[in-house]
């Protein structure tokens, strides 16, 4: 049963790849241009601290978490080389990247494309549909964004033509690219990092299953007739396809758990929150807690950013917090009492006159307040 299923799957894979190759050749048209590769010797570190290392362009990100590597390009028609490949030594300490380029037509204007991915040891990007990726390139640069002092060891930058092999490579790279969990992850799992540009694993594996099942059913029907069909073989084919698509998910999950362990393992609650992207918000909330000495104080939070309002409210509980989602202004002034506190998080639609101690908001609402503290995150006020 297993052998039959594997044979059918192998035939299906061959048919699928053949179909892909035939379709790819029809759409490719002209013979492909030769790939162009730049090694560390061709790279200049424009931003960041260059580090001595053999065989790589090694750079430490600067204090603002940026590093830029540039290569000079001549006689390179970008439209003929849509795939950008970056190869690193080890996993770079990078959270996102920006690909920048100039062309003869753009002159000094730098075109750019942001890539919100944390790359692994290799990254393939399909720049073919990116706006302005055309014309004769005069320079190409990659901006790395990450934690200050983060290290990037870049071995090669390559531009590659659209061939069957490179298309498959881009496809596979997208499927294997790790993107850490985000807020939207709780709502759905897409399966690719570039929706609309790469094939979805579910679609490909479903197709594979259908073709393999057709191969089995057709060959069995022709050989032994309908009575020879065993649905358990189709079941094994399906299970193997499921295990394949689950393998991709398992790979991502393993990387996710590894990242979680690196970020949070061994830390107490406060240390964990300070290791997240909410660190500044948590710190602000801690300062607010320490500044408020009244046990049952009421705290009103106002900001036009729903995420900031919601999160800061959570960090302030179990204090008696009021935050209204989608509300752009504080409640009417009649609801306030002396001793209430107001947390204004930037951006907030309220203005404080520090001379008169009046907080103005909404449609002519005014409150007399005392400013307790103010940072670039927000301000804490007490109603007087």
């Amino acid at each position: 049963m297993l052998r039959t299923a594997l044979i059918c799957l192998a035939i299906a894979i061959a048919l699928l790849l053949s179909g892909y190759a035939i379709l790819g050749q029809k759409s490719a048209g002209e013979p492909a241009t030769t790939a162009k590769t730049w090694t560390n010797r061709d790279m200049d570190v424009l931003v960041g601290l260059p580090v001595n290392a053999r065989g790589v362009a090694a750079v430490r990100l600067d204090q603002s978490g940026r590093g830029v590597v540039e290569v000079a390009t001549r006689n390179i028609a970008l439209a003929d080389l849509p795939y950008l490949q970056l190869r690193f030594r080890g996993r770079p300490d990078v959270l996102a990247m920006i690909v920048g380029w100039r062309t003869e037509a753009s002159g000094r204007t730098i075109r750019n494309h942001r890539v919100g991915l944390s790359p692994g040891r290799e990254l393939w990007l399909d720049m073919g549909d990116v706006r302005h990726w055309q014309g004769q390139a005069t320079s190409l640069a990659v901006v790395f964004l990450g934690p200050p002092g983060g290290r990037v060891d870049l071995e090669t930058i390559s531009l590659r033509p659209r061939t069957i092999a490179s298309s498959l490579r881009v496809q596979l790279d997208d499927w294997l690219t790790f993107v850490p969990w985000r807020q939207s992850s709780i709502n759905a799992y897409i399966g690719v990092t570039a929706p609309g540009k790469t094939a979805y694993p579910v679609v490909v594996l479903t197709l594979l299953f259908i073709i393999a099942s057709m191969v089995y059913l057709t060959s069995t029907r022709l050989g032994r007739g309908r009575s020879g069909i065993r649905w358990s073989v189709v079941g094994v084919i399906f299970t193997l396809c499921w295990i394949a698509v689950d393998g991709l998910w398992q790979y991502r999950l393993t990387q996710q758990v590894t990242l979680t362990a690196e970020t949070f393992a061994g830390k107490n609650r406060e240390e964990k929150l300070l290791a997240t992207n909410d660190d500044y918000l948590f710190r602000f909330a801690q300062d607010v807690r320490q500044a408020i000495h009244t046990k049952d104080a009421r705290i009103f939070i106002n900001t036009t950013d729903d995420y900031l309002g919601m999160r800061s409210a959570y960090y302030l509980y179990p204090m008696n917090v009021f935050w209204e989602r989608h509300a752009r202004a504080l409640p009417a002034s009649k609801f306030f009492q002396r001793g209430d506190y107001i947390v204004l998080l930037n951006p907030a639609l309220a203005s404080l006159n520090s001379e008169t101690g009046e907080l103005t908001y909404g449609t002519g609402q005014i409150l007399k307040v005392r400013a307790i503290s103010s940072t670039n995150v927000g301000a804490l006020l007490e109603v007087i």
Binding site: Y189, Y200, M310, F322
Partner: protein, 460 residues
């Protein structure tokens, strides 16, 4: 660490104490059913005990909850010994004899290893990651935080009510009216720890995941599936990415509702076939438990009503009853007061009309994106194979088919005809709500697969 283990084990033990006496008549899959249903019963039961303690003015301290849980568990065992649930008018389903070839055993163990690996990874993720998802910090854990501090279930009210009351003795968040089972579970774990820990407090989500898998496997065996088929589909269920994500990014109640509905429907199906009283009780208890988890639980509970009709009535009469029920539902929708709130929603708020822009995103969420791996194509293929290849109907599974068909209609109504279409178009809610139904639908697909494979065995 020890206290967390104690709290989790006590939750499991409490549930098992009440479930074991109910399952005496089960022959196949009993251990897994006891483990799965017992575990989930504990996850529902301990919060119920906490509510009772709160009603009696008892502070929600670990000691009080523990003593109450142990006392009621002993009561459960004692009651169970007196009132044995037994007797089954129809013979239980017997799973086919399994091949015990080495490859078969190897495949079985491989699937089990994949499941255990998944559970371990998710356990580690939950134990380390602080509370993360949006809604979890907006209106679920807000309650846990306040109640843990107050050692009582302090009332949460709407914003307007809070303002009128000047915040005196009341708190507010974005959804003060949501059922409180999952926040109470978080309070329970924090009470065991003695301090607020918004990582460890989410370990009940791992327990829920394990409960779902064990219960599914057990009921698959009770439904007459071979151990291999049961294991394959248990693996399918527990490997679904969005289900895993709801464990790893714990804090939402959708996983719990999906588990409760699945447990109810599986027991309902096996009762409809065997008429075992124990399955009937399990179905009833876990169907009602849906009401304690999320507002949508009310609607999923309602789907069992037409299912019950088709199971207990002869075919023709049940068709007439269903048609009448549909007419009644339509008339209710037309004449119901538009501003009256039912399960958190009013007709005014829903703004009912067909939104064609939601059809394509709905299709994508099941057949294109990876939330459910290959489940949707599997279900479609099995239905097609049942109808066109086996030329069979769904009569043996009429109960579960009716329930799921009704649930599917309600699901489409929600996303295609109401303001919640936003959640489909922008993919912010459709897959999460699907999570409440997919486990039960996986059981349905298991039944279809079993019938298809039974043909193989007849040929053999």
């Amino acid at each position: 660490m020890l206290m967390i283990v104690v709290a989790l084990m006590l939750t499991l033990a409490w549930g098992v104490a009440w479930i074991v006496p109910l399952t005496g008549e089960l022959r196949h899959g009993r251990f897994a059913i006891v483990l799965g249903y017992g575990c989930f019963a504990g996850l529902i039961g301990v919060p119920v005990l906490m509510r009772l303690l709160n009603l009696g003015g008892v502070p929600l301290r670990f000691e009080w909850i523990t003593v109450t849980a142990i006392a009621t568990a002993v009561l459960g065992v004692a009651l169970g010994r007196r009132l044995s649930v037994s007797g089954h008018p129809r013979p239980p389903l017997t799973p086919p004899s399994t091949r015990d070839s080495r490859w078969y055993q190897l495949a079985y163990l491989m699937l089990l290893a994949l499941i255990l690996t998944r559970v371990s990874l998710l356990c580690v993720e939950v134990a380390w990651r602080p509370l993360f998802p949006f809604d979890a910090t907006m209106h679920w854990a807000t309650k846990s935080r306040v109640w843990f501090d107050h050692l009582a279930i302090t009332p949460f009210v709407e914003n307007a009510t809070w303002l009128e009351a000047a915040g005196s003795g009341v708190y507010t968040d974005h959804h003060p009216d949501y059922p409180i089972t999952t926040p109470l579970l978080q309070v329970w774990i924090n009470a065991a720890l003695g301090n607020w820990n918004d990582s460890a407090m989410n370990l009940p989500w791992v327990l829920c995941f394990v409960a779902l898998g064990a219960a599914f496997y057990g009921q698959a065996r009770a439904a007459g599936c071979s151990s291999m088929l049961a294991m394959v589909f248990t693996y399918f269920l527990l490997s679904m990415p969005l289900l895993n994500t709801h464990v790893g990014l714990a804090g939402y109640a959708d996983l719990f509702l999906g588990t409760s509905y699945c447990l109810a429907l599986m027991a309902f199906h096996n009762w409809s076939v065997t008429r075992q009283r124990s399955q009937a009780i399990l179905a009833l208890v876990f169907a009602l438990a849906c009401l304690l988890i999320k507002n949508e639980g009310f609607f999923w509970l309602l789907t069992l009503l037409p299912a019950l009709l088709v199971v207990v009535m002869p075919a023709k009469r049940s068709v007439v009853s269903l048609l009448l029920l549909a007419v009644v539902a339509g008339l209710t929708l037309a004449w119901f007061p538009r501003n009256v709130v039912v399960a958190g929603h009013s007709l005014d708020e829903l703004s009912i009309y067909f939104r064609s822009s939601t059809v394509s995103p709905t299709f994508d969420s099941f057949f294109i994106y990876g939330s459910w791996h290959l489940f949707a194509p599997l279900l479609v293929a099995l239905i097609a194979a049942t109808v066109f290849v086996r030329r069979s109907c769904f009569y043996p599974y009429r109960g579960v088919t009716t329930a799921l068909a009704t649930a599917f209609v309600l699901f489409l109504f929600l996303f295609w005809f109401t303001t919640y279409s936003y959640g489909a178009i922008h993919l912010t809610a459709i897959s999460r709500i699907s999570l409440q139904l997919v486990p039960a639908a996986t059981f349905f697909s298991l039944l279809l697969a079993r019938a298809l494979l039974a043909d193989d065995q007849e040929q053999a």
